[in-house]
């Protein structure tokens, strides 16, 4: 549905995005993740025909975003980061204007439909300038949906909303997926894992990772960690637990606390618990320490390893992860080079 190849955009000397390539099949919900200024908005603006790329090409539904801009714009519903609203218009008047701009057939049916969809029917006659932030965001969403587009591009759709509204908007976006292709950008990580089927992490104008939220976590993690806390009087813990089949490393992270690196796909917690109890040690805590998307994100978007929080004290873990993460980064690096050669 959306094909992006080697997209590059410069503003003067500033490189907003560099050599960005990705594909989005029909019906997928893709999340753009990245810190502010990473190039998310620029990419979206190119896709929606707001600005042309400096280099590279992008097609939406088979139409080039530059050469067939109008065809692309007909098929896209776009919610920019600053919601484009006219404060002096009523909600209904505004949606009517947008529907006319996009030559919607049976306009009023469509307007009623989207107002219902985003739940603003009771505000239809209110002036937009008097609406709260949450309602404005909904009007913005309604605007993007009124022509029933095949592709929906949402730039920070939950920005500035309260938690309840965020949940509502997320549910709305989820309900849209299916036939429609959705691209949304965010810097809120849970949002991505909740709504998106696939994530693109962008940093400094480049794609640094691309996968499903779950895959991304595990791939970068390479191993699972279990945190075990025992009564400090326990002796020889590292030797005993390290002898268990599947345990790849044991490191002490505190008084009585140990970080245990386990091989993937093996559930070691019952075995750990049994061994500990057999020894007569008092078990105070036993929990898995997953590497959340936050950690993945931080790791990908910052070069230094110091910012990695979870187990800075554990030597074994650190080295393990170095080995596991770097190939991933190199893979994308290599992939990108191959693309540019071709």
């Amino acid at each position: 549905m959306i094909e992006v190849e080697n997209l590059t955009k410069h503003y003067g000397d500033f490189v907003a995005i560099e050599d960005v390539s990705f594909h989005v099949p029909r019906g997928e919900v893709l999340g753009f993740l990245g810190p502010n200024g990473a190039g998310k908005t620029t990419t979206m603006r190119i896709l929606t025909g707001f600005m042309p790329p400096t280099d590279g090409r992008a097609t939406v539904a088979g139409f080039d975003v530059f050469h067939d801009s109008l065809e692309v714009r007909r098929r896209i519903g776009y919610l920019p980061e600053t919601v484009p609203l006219y404060p002096e218009m009523t909600v209904e008047g505004y949606l009517d204007f947008v529907a006319q701009l996009r030559s919607v057939d049976e306009r009023w049916d469509s307007i009623d439909r989207v107002m219902e969809q985003v739940d603003i029917v009771d505000r239809a006659d209110d002036l937009i300038g008097q609406l709260s932030k949450g309602y404005r965001q909904r009007v913005g969403l309604a605007q993007a949906l009124v022509h029933n587009p095949e592709v929906i591009v949402l730039d920070e759709p939950t920005l500035g909303l309260d938690p309840k509204q965020i949940i509502e908007v997320r549910e709305l976006i989820r309900s849209l997926s299916g036939e429609r292709t959705v691209i949304l950008s965010t810097h809120i990580l849970p949002e991505v894992s909740q709504i998106c089927e696939r994530v693109l992490i962008i940093n400094k104008g480049r794609i640094v990772a691309e996968d499903t939220p779950e895959q991304l976590s595990t791939r970068l993690e390479g191993a699972e960690h279990v945190r075990v806390t025992l009564d400090p009087s326990a002796d020889g813990v590292a030797e005993v637990l390290g002898a268990i089949d599947g345990v790849e490393g044991v490191g002490q992270v505190g008084n009585g606390s140990y970080d245990i690196t386990c091989a993937l796909d093996v559930e070691l917690r019952p075995i750990l618990a049994r061994r500990i109890v057999e020894r007569g040690w008092s078990l105070l805590e036993l929990r898995p320490v997953g590497m959340g998307l936050e950690d993945v994100f931080l790791q990908l978007t910052t070069e230094t390893e110091e910012t990695r929080e979870p187990e800075p004290a554990v030597e074994t873990v650190e080295t393990e992860e170095d080995v596991d993460t770097e190939p991933v980064l190199e893979e994308t690096e290599v992939a990108r080079e191959e693309e540019s050669d071709a």
Binding site: G49, F50, P52, Y78, P84, Y86, E88, M89, V98
Partner: protein
Amino acid sequence: MRNMWVIARRELGAYFASPIAYLVGAGFLAVAGYFFSAILALSLQATMQFAFSNMVVILLFVAPLLAMRLVSEEQRSGTIELLMTSPVRDWQVVWGKWLAALVLYLAMMAFTGLYVVVLWRLGNPDYGPILSGYLGLILLGGALLALGTLTSALTENQIVAAVLGVALVVLLYVSGAVTDMSGPDSLVGRFFGYVSLSEHLSDFMRGVVDTTHVVFYLSVVAGALYLATRVLETRRWR
């Protein structure tokens, strides 16, 4: 064409939702009405000629005020992103906005029809120069609004757009003065005489409708709106 109307209709709604249209309109009519009545009382002639030439001077300031927010406000508030990602061409946006300002301008002009009614009641005016004078004013107004639309596209700030607009139209209006200084036969003189907004107006006021003058004003409209469209397009490339 349809898209242009959609843009123009929204723009007209915006005019009447803000005090600008009322303020500028009322201000124009107050000043124009004052000149009309003062001139009539002094000259006791059933003619619009003097009132027209005063209205023209007021229009140099009023038209840029009417046009100042057309594009600048969209750029400031970010709604330009909606228009530029809708299946609408840039020129349709620009022409639609100009059209809305023109409709408002025509409505304003319609009120001055009262002056003609007064003349008709009190005397026996010659309607030829009045009609051609109105035609000239409408053409001039269209040109002024197009130039105002151009300056509005150049900036996000309405005030800057208005100041630039006034400066531009006043310069173009008085550029005939260069002709007086350098002589009408020199190339420079001829050029500044030709681009002068005022030189082309005098025939209309005398009751003469010359197509060259009509073509001149229409070219100013087309040229200014073409430039405004290009300015809007370059926003995309930045």
